[in-house]
């Protein structure tokens, strides 16, 4: 792997950038691997990277049915934060955020991590109290959090409508200054390049069609490119976890739902934080290209369609205009949907499955992107040692039987409510 640096950029400029090597190989699948990871998104590639880097396991294949990062890694809105209430979630996502802070150097690949600040806006005293509670919980967990007055919000976001006549009057807010955004494709590419350099085979256009079992243990996977044997198989296919688990005869505490997002046409810089309104079920930030990126809730019914209902887009756009009236004449450029794993308590699952040597990283709901580095770390640790990583030891499958749930929202076993 050639090292990326200002010097290498200069050197390759001498021949007009014609001599760059591909960032990763395109190997044919071998007949057997020690570990096969299904899913070439951020989590699968991160798992392969940490297996190789931390645990020295390089006899690994990542199987991707399409192209790298072409699923939810390329569809999410790239927000990174760790502003959670529950200790188990806070510990995991804060560990992830710390990995994000060094990821560009770690991977020698610019993931464009931008700690521009993550702002929650409150529109009522009750909501403000809830943000106070969340901020205090975050600080008790060692995570940065600061309360914001209306004036603070006005300084941070000059376009925010703070007038008392606003449709949703603003009362105050909470900021996590270390939160922000990253370039989602770069995360997949960076992990892929670094894993490939350590000997991991990344195999694209290779769809898993069945999971072969030998008695109680997994033997390998049938794919569109033939059978591939494996000592251990890991599912990193959030959105499709239910379908893949069904191939092994398992039912999961997960439903697949559609989550939509949209972008406006690009404009000059006008919003340099990530803003969220819980009451409006709405979030917005401005990409480096200038587009306003926004989204809201999941549509709320089971779906594998990767497209949603215009009603949600309507709601998101109405919320955007209510908060930032200046954008009311901007045009919507693009909207899309992704299939997300909604778990039964709203928290992820990183676990061994009831089939021996089969592992799951899923149930990310609408927030898997920010968990990519820690999810990969935790799953690699679990695969290598067969013991859960301390940052993810509550993300079990058994919690749904024992009652040790991680229900951040308190919505119960209605995944469309989380």
């Amino acid at each position: 792997m050639s090292h990326y640096s200002a010097w290498s950029l200069l050197r390759h400029a001498l021949d007009g950038h014609r001599s760059w090597a591909p960032a990763w190989r395109d190997p044919a699948p071998r007949r057997h691997y020690r570990v096969v990871i299904i899913g070439g998104g951020g989590h699968g590639l991160a798992t392969a990277y940490y297996l190789a880097r931390t645990h020295g396991i390089t006899d690994v294949a990542v199987l991707e049915k399409g192209w790298l990062g072409g699923g939810n890694t390329g569809r999410n809105t790239a927000i990174v934060r760790s502003n959670y209430l529950l200790a188990a979630n806070s510990r995991f996502y804060e560990h992830s955020l710390k990995l994000w802070e060094g990821l560009t150097q770690e991977l020698n690949f610019n993931v464009m991590f931008s700690q521009r600040g993550m702002v929650n806006i409150a529109h009522s005293n009750a909501e403000l109290s809830a943000l106070h509670r969340r901020g205090n919980a975050m600080r008790l967990n060692g995570v940065d959090a600061e309360l914001l007055s209306r004036d603070d919000l006005g300084r941070l976001m000059p376009a925010l409508d703070l007038s008392p006549e606003a449709r949703f009057p603003v009362m105050g807010g909470l900021i996590q200054k270390r939160g922000g955004t990253a370039r989602h494709d770069a995360v997949a590419w960076g992990y892929a390049r670094a894993a490939d350099a350590r000997g991991v085979d990344i195999i694209q256009n290779c769809e898993v069609t069945a999971i072969r079992r030998d008695g109680d243990r997994v033997a390998g996977v049938e794919t569109s490119r033939g059978f591939i044997g494996a000592d251990k198989v890991a599912l990193c296919v959030a959105g499709d976890s239910g379908r893949l688990a069904a191939m092994a005869g398992l039912r999961l505490p997960i439903e697949s739902h559609v989550l939509q997002a949209l972008v406006s046409e690009p404009v000059k810089p006008m919003l340099d934080v990530v803003a969220v309104s819980g009451a409006l079920h709405f979030y917005i930030n401005q990409s480096d290209k200038g587009e306003l990126v926004m989204g809201g809730d999941i549509d709320g019914h089971n779906s594998y369609a990767q497209r949603g209902d215009p009603e949600i887009i309507d709601h998101v756009v109405e919320s955007a205009i209510a908060l930032f009236p200046a954008i009311r004449r901007m045009r919507l450029m693009r909207a899309w949907g992704g299939t997300v794993d909604m778990s039964m308590d709203g928290s992820p699952i990183i676990t061994r499955l009831p089939v021996d040597s089969l592992y799951l990283n899923g149930g990310w709901c609408y927030g898997g992107f920010k968990g990519t580095p820690a999810g990969g770390t935790a799953l690699a640790h679990l695969i290598a040692t067969d013991t859960p990583h301390p940052i993810a030891d509550r993300f079990t499958l058994t919690r749904f039987d024992t009652g040790d749930l991680l229900d951040e929202r308190g919505a119960g076993s209605s995944p469309w409510m989380h």
């Binding site: 379908r243 779906s303 594998y304 009603e311 039987d401 469309w416």
Partner: protein, 85 residues
Amino acid sequence: MRIPCPNCGSRSLAEFSYGGAALDRPPGDIGPSPETAPAWDDFVYRRDNPAGPLRELWFHAAGCRAWFVATRDTRSLEFIAEVTP
């Protein structure tokens, strides 16, 4: 998405609330009894989550306020059958 309410006909998604997969209630009472707990755990928490036809509950909240069961394809989002419980 339009939803075929058995009482009101085809109506907009905005009028409805979702009730999830229409599952058969397990026999026996919910509780810590070792005989019935596994079936109740499955009923409350585990799902087939099919990519294809799914029998599910809908509530016509802004209409006739009836619950009904309909079958919808989760890939095409089209309703393919309906019944009233």
